[in-house]
């Protein structure tokens, strides 16, 4: 299909996208420098140790288990809140999205505070599933909304029972979204250190941290981190096959009825209710208990400074991620070519690398290339861009692809330049999706710890770094307000994200009503 934007992308887009890719690849180049320094034989020796391989096995097992359970939980929540007539589904939707506001190290802490024996594989599995299921929930909700519910009714009229309708019609429609969500879960689990270390489950990131901590071995750590990049490459290659055929649905609104769950209703209530208790109520109760039982004191001025800094970083991170993410998304969606696809994939490369490695890479590179920005907020924001640009793009690409291409031509026929078309047509249409991307980044920035700790301007504290400070000396009572505040502040973008998905849904429901 031809369209006016297709021919050649505007320089603005190319400039922004190249800058974003360049920055995103910085940690990879750092790893290469370190590896080169280390020598191939030592790398192999370092990596192919029984213990390293065991840890790698643990990591992969955990990541796979988390991905499967997150996809199951998130998809079920999405289906329940979008397709069924269950009472209180708007509330269930919020409950499904809100755990996004809880950093997984906080969840882990709160569980260990409640249950002393809470540790090991299953503990890590549960905590990471709680942390990543909302990603799946949001992606699948959006996909369910886009898919044509009339096809499900046709399938029923052809004699298919509920399960067959789901497996043969609904699942193919949500599969790409579910797989993307699962992929995010895998990368998240691979890169996580905070939660697994609190829960005493040994993973590959532990090997990386030990290399830094006990042997001050930067090159050894880099060679291990490079393994995670390699795994990411494999996953990126596998992903298209797992996603399955990209299904072209027309997002037409039709009149369909919500599914009446019948005998399953009480079970659905029980399942979602129990999950809400585990994923939200228990951790929050535990935090409140900290707040009340400890003796350590909280400094109000300290709290408000940390809050201001956290919110500032979140805004900055969100804004920058939107600028660059928008450029990359438009480039990959509207000017799809081999090069833009490489751009799109390359920003994911460091997504499984733990934050500390990305941060140290930036320390190394900035001190050699641009010492002026070292230990300024600029470098912190750049770190956030590297860490969370993939999330922003994942949220923005689909809404952008849904702005009708015919409008590009109409805009061009009315004399708009390509950049004007983007600004006046595509951005407003994809607006809610772009905001969702910004919200997702802001939320991730609020929760981020290792890179913030290393790169922030000396003397600047955020909610997350304060929380780290207090828990590192087991001052739980002093830590609790930071944890609670963090959850509340991060809850705002989480709630916005859910609203963005649900709003289109409400529109859909209104349409359904109006049709008759």
């Amino acid at each position: 299909m031809k369209n006016s934007l297709r021919q050649q992308p505007p320089a603005l887009l190319i400039g922004l996208a190249v800058a974003a890719v360049f920055v995103s690849l910085a940690p990879v180049s750092y790893l290469l420098i370190r590896l080169f320094e280390f020598g191939a034989d030592k790398v192999i020796q370092n990596v192919f140790r029984a213990r390293t391989l065991e840890l790698l096995g643990n990591s992969l097992l955990l990541a796979a288990a988390v991905a499967i359970s997150a996809v199951a939980v998130g998809s079920f929540q999405a289906w329940l809140t979008v397709r069924t007539a269950i009472k209180g589904r708007a509330l269930f939707a919020i409950l499904a999205a809100l755990p996004l506001a809880m950093p997984s190290y906080v969840t882990a802490y709160s569980f260990t505070a409640l249950f002393s024996g809470f540790k090991g594989f299953f503990a890590a599995w549960l905590v990471l599933t709680i942390g990543t299921a909302p990603y799946v929930y949001l992606a699948v909700s959006a996909a369910l909304f886009r898919s044509d519910a009339a096809t499900e009714e046709v399938a029923r009229s052809l004699g298919s029972n509920r399960w067959r309708v789901f497996s043969r019609v609904t699942w193919p429609a949500i599969r790409p979204a579910a797989v993307s969500g699962g992929m995010l879960s895998i990368l998240y689990s691979l890169s996580d250190f905070g939660a697994v270390s609190i829960l005493s489950f040994d993973t590959f990131t532990r090997a990386i941290y030990s290399a830094y901590r006990s042997s001050f071995d930067r090159t050894g750590a880099a060679s291990l981190a490079a393994i995670l990049v390699l795994i990411t490459v494999v996953l990126l290659v596998l992903e298209p096959a797992l996603r399955g055929k990209e299904v072209n649905t027309d997002a037409r609104v039709r009149r369909t009825s919500l599914i009446n769950l019948g005998w399953f209703t009480p079970f659905a209530f029980l399942l979602t209710g129990a999950w809400a208790v585990v994923s939200l109520v228990l951790p929050v109760v535990s935090l409140i208990r900290w707040n009340q039982t400890g003796l350590s004191e909280v400094d109000g001025g300290e709290v408000s400074r940390a809050l201001i800094n956290s919110v500032g970083y979140a805004f900055g991170g969100g804004l920058v991620a939107v600028i660059f993410g928008l450029a990359l998304s438009i480039l990959t969606v509207r000017f799809k070519s081999r090069i833009t696809t490489i751009f799109d994939r390359s920003i994911w490369l460091t997504h499984a690398v733990p934050g500390i490695v990305v941060a140290l890479a930036l320390v190394f590179i900035s001190n050699r290339l641009l010492p002026q920005i070292y230990q300024t907020s600029i470098l912190v924001i750049i770190a956030y861009l590297i860490l969370f640009l993939p999330n922003a793009i994942a949220a923005m690409q689909t809404p952008i692809s849904q702005a009708p291409r015919a409008l590009d031509e109409i805009a061009a026929s009315l004399g708009a330049t390509k950049v004007q078309t983007i600004r006046r047509v595509i951005v407003p249409i994809a607006g809610p999706g772009i905001l969702a991307g910004a919200a997702l980044v802001a939320l991730s920035v609020l929760k981020e710890l290792p890179a913030t700790l290393l790169l922030r301007e000396t003397g600047v504290e955020t909610l997350a770094t304060r929380l780290w400070n207090e828990t590192s000396v087991s001052a739980y009572a002093a830590a609790a307000p930071y944890a609670l505040l963090l959850v509340v502040v991060a809850g705002i973008p989480a709630w916005l994200l859910n609203r963005q998905v649900r709003q289109s849904m409400r529109f859909d429901l209104n349409q359904r009503m109006e049709r008759e």
């Binding site: 044509d148 009339a150 096809t151 009714e153 046709v154 399938a155 029923r156 009229s157 052809l158 004699g159 298919s160 029972n161 067959r164 043969r168 019609v169 193919p172 429609a173 399955g244 055929k245 299904v247 072209n248 649905t249 027309d250 037409r252 039709r254 009149r255 369909t256 009825s257 009503m513 049709r515 008759e516």
Partner: protein
């Protein structure tokens, strides 16, 4: 002939509005019923009750002689064996044409299944398109696949929900004819919902007009067109010229002269007469009372506006012989007219 579908006393409210009021309907085997109604008349709701996607508030539904909804029982959509062709086809976007058609045949042995798919492809004239994906098909092809898909499991009844509304006029006419032929060939009982009266009249063996949740009239197409049940029906189903009249000596006295009523009338009754534009005959006459003041030319015919001393009428005239603007004519009414007492 056996009754395939029977509705008794169906009531349904949506969001506090009573959408369907005490509906009764019977559809016999091999019938092709069109339910004609404007938007908001409740026709899509009715279809969803028959298919089992929604349930009525009260009433009974029998399909193939068995109760599928009643006081005690409710059979779910997947067990009703009612085919469904929604608006815009709604093909499974991830399945090929053949797999779409095959979808409802999962209980059939695979050899038979392939044969049935081949039969249906033949029937809807899509041989060679087996491996195409839905987005590679044209609008008309998509609808034919949707029809084949619904017919594949040999349903007792097939429902079509405004299936042609998104197509352009020419394609709509052609597809309508294709659908009619296919359904007739398979002998399937069908119900089509539409707001397009031309579509309803041309495709169906029987037409039910749904107005404000009630059937205003049910009958064969010619009956519906030629003898509308009331004045509103007369204007709803195509254009009519409405003139006041009084009955005198079994004739209706109007501004157009004396007209012969089609129905039985009582002397002295006042009411209105509905005359279809094509029932006027315009005779060119330099001394005629009428003057042509407007003319829309369509080729095969023309719609001519004629000013008479007391009113203006619209008449349909044969294209080649349609009078020009400014010509004087005498207006005649052909045959009998429908008289509706006030």
């Amino acid at each position: 002939m056996t009754t395939v579908l029977s509705l008794q006393q169906i009531n349904k409210s949506i969001a506090g509005n009573q959408v369907l009021k005490n509906l009764n309907l019977e559809v016999k085997e091999h019938e092709f019923l069109a339910i004609l109604g404007s938007s908001g008349s409740g026709k899509t709701t009715l279809l969803r009750l028959i298919s089992g996607f929604d349930s009525p508030d009260s009433g009974q539904i029998q399909i193939g002689g068995k109760s599928v909804f009643g006081a005690q029982s409710s059979v779910s959509a997947e067990e009703r064996r009612v085919g469904f062709v929604p608006q815009d086809a709604a093909l499974f976007p991830h399945l090929t044409v053949a797999k779409n058609i095959e979808f409802g045949l999962n209980k059939m042995p695979s050899a038979q299944r392939a044969q049935r798919v081949a039969e249906l492809l033949q029937l809807v004239d899509l041989v060679g398109f087996e491996e195409r994906m839905p987005h590679q098909l044209s609008g008309g092809q998509r609808h034919r696949v949707a029809l084949a898909r619904a017919l594949a499991p040999k349903p007792q009844l097939i429902l079509l929900d405004e299936p042609f509304s998104s197509l352009d006029a020419e394609l709509r006419v052609r597809l309508r004819e294709d659908v009619r032929t296919v359904i007739a060939k398979t002998g399937t009982t069908a119900i089509l919902v539409t707001h397009d009266q031309e579509e309803a009249l041309s495709i169906a063996t029987r037409v039910a007009v749904l107005r404000d949740g009630e059937f205003a009239q049910i009958g064969i197409p010619s009956e519906i067109y030629q003898a509308p049940a009331d004045v509103e029906m007369a204007t709803f189903l195509g254009d009519s010229v409405i003139i006041n009249g009084v009955v005198k000596d079994d004739k209706v006295v109007t501004d157009l002269g004396l007209l012969t009523p089609l129905n039985k009338v009582a002397n002295g009754a006042t009411g209105r007469v509905a005359i279809r534009p094509e029932n006027f005959y315009l005779q060119p006459n330099p001394n005629g009372e009428g003057e042509v003041i407007g003319r829309q030319y369509f080729g095969h015919d023309a719609l001519v506006e004629v000013k008479l001393p007391k009113l203006v009428i619209q008449a349909r005239a044969n294209g080649p012989f349609a009078p020009e603007i400014g010509m004087k004519v005498t207006v005649w009414v052909r045959g009998q007219v429908n008289f509706y007492t006030d």
